[in-house]
């Protein structure tokens, strides 16, 4: 039920993001989803890729600081209020969302949202109880 996300520390200077994507492209790694958190001094790039191990290896070899985080990919109805109902369920259960971002998807009626929770296992069991679809890791990497 958990998806492996790779995170990369970036200084706020020109060309760093380009360098990450270039390194991954040359290694044949495809980026499935990404988000960039930025502050005045630094950024944190979070990525879901098709080949986690390869991505981690090539980025590390290029000197990037790389972290691994487990996140959850949830299927959300692609209509007004779709995300709101999922978030309301989580709020009622007292689950805090650390951050979230949307997935790139070519087709289909539903959106895929990546969530990072402070308490991952509780969040998963609540979402399952509510009948919300959670993607398995392998599904996400191939989407």
């Amino acid at each position: 039920m958990k998806v492996e996300q790779i995170s990369v520390f970036l200084e706020n200077k020109a060309g760093r993001l380009a360098e990450v994507t270039r390194v991954l492209g040359e290694a044949g790694v495809n980026i499935r989803a990404l988000s960039l958190a930025d502050t005045t001094d630094f950024g944190i790039l979070r990525l879901i890729v098709d080949k986690y191990d390869t991505a981690r290896e090539v980025l590390k070899s290029k000197g990037f600081t790389v972290g691994k985080t487990e996140v959850v990919a949830i299927e959300v109805p692609d209509r007004p209020g779709g995300l709101a109902s999922v978030l309301a369920t989580l709020a009622q259960a007292g689950i805090n969302v650390e951050y979230m971002y949307a997935f790139v998807q070519h087709s289909g009626k539903n959106a895929v949202i990546i969530f990072r929770f402070d308490n991952l296992d509780d969040a998963i069991s609540i979402l399952q109880k509510e009948g919300i679809h959670i993607y398995r890791g392998e599904e996400v990497y191939k989407l």
Binding site: E11, A37, D41, F42, G67
Partner: protein, 433 residues
Amino acid sequence: MIFDSEHETLPREALEGLQLRRLQAVVERVYHLVPFYRRRLDEVGVKPEHIRTLADLELLPFTTKQDIRDNYPFGMFAAPMEQIVRLHASSGTTGKPTPVGYTQRDLDTWAELIARTLTAGGVHRGDIVHIAYGYGLFTGGLGFHYGAERLGAAVIPVSGGQTRRQIMLIQDFGPNVICCTPSFALYLAEVGQEMGVDFKETKLRVGFFGAEPWSEAMRTEIESRLYLDALDIYGLSEIIGPGVGVECLEAKSGLHLWEDHFLPEIIDPATLERLPAGETGELVITTLTKEAFPLLRYRTRDVTSLTYNPCKCGRTLARMSRIQGRSDDMLIIRGVNVFPSQIESVLMDVPGVAPHYQLIVEREGHLDTLEVRVEVDEAVFSDEVKGLQTLAQRIERRIKDYLTVSVKVKLVEPRTIPRSEGKAQRVIDRRGQ
């Protein structure tokens, strides 16, 4: 104006006679009262009676800050605690402060030398002296305080901080004299300008600025913005605190050293050879009259030169040029001594932080800023912004607690701090640019 015309204008020959008698007494004192010096002198086979002329000073070993640290806290004191009435301390290089002690006679000497210092700037009884050096363990505040009282001037013991309130006091209480760091003087000018204060309207007449390096350009700026005469002072807590030397108002050309209490030499910091007058090197001082904490040939690490040419103020004492730099890696940030090794030891205490760091010193407006660049490796990396911001703040807080200086921590990517010959270039000081 001269406070102690007997000692400040002694003919060189008489001064050297006095220096020799006092040097002999201090060597005698430390040889018998400080085990560290007994050992050092025995090692080189020198006995107090071997000091027959001033040139014999060269027989004596040097003392370094490391020696003081090795004898922490009071191992170098030459007086028992029963006779010590005051302790001060400066920041050390590795976390422990460098303590210094004073007997009552030492405090009297100190007050006397500050009274000389103030008088060299034309201060007299009836003047009001605004002391904005920090009070506390730092010698600046209390040193000037008792010297100004000795002179009979009225003291405003305002200490540091609360800039707007200080400006209000300068307007309302009307001090004629101000004592602070040169950067704080310029900060006062700036804040005063924002508040719409015309310093021409205040009674400030002369300022005594020191505890950090400054320049002739800064003097010109301070003088034109605060409408006063800006004098350079010199001192260090190991020797006594402020009150080692000062420029006279008449010449503003070199700092007169109170040579009857402190015997100066200039050495080449590489060869440790003594250099002749006029040449630039490291200042070495032997305290001639201190009881509690006498030091033989203490290496100040300050780079300067000496001249013995007569000064138009009438003093016969040697003059030292403005401090030109350091012969070690010490930085002075807003008056606080900072060694890169201190920052390093703080970083080492933060779990997971790599010992790769770089210090960027800049001057924003007139205040020094210190940026500490820390490489982020996997041990401390977090995919959440707040995780990394908390890390940066934790390091900032620890450095502030430890060094009393505010810094900004900047997290950088690994291996972005340049290494040269396997060793990182630790300090980039852009203040002179």
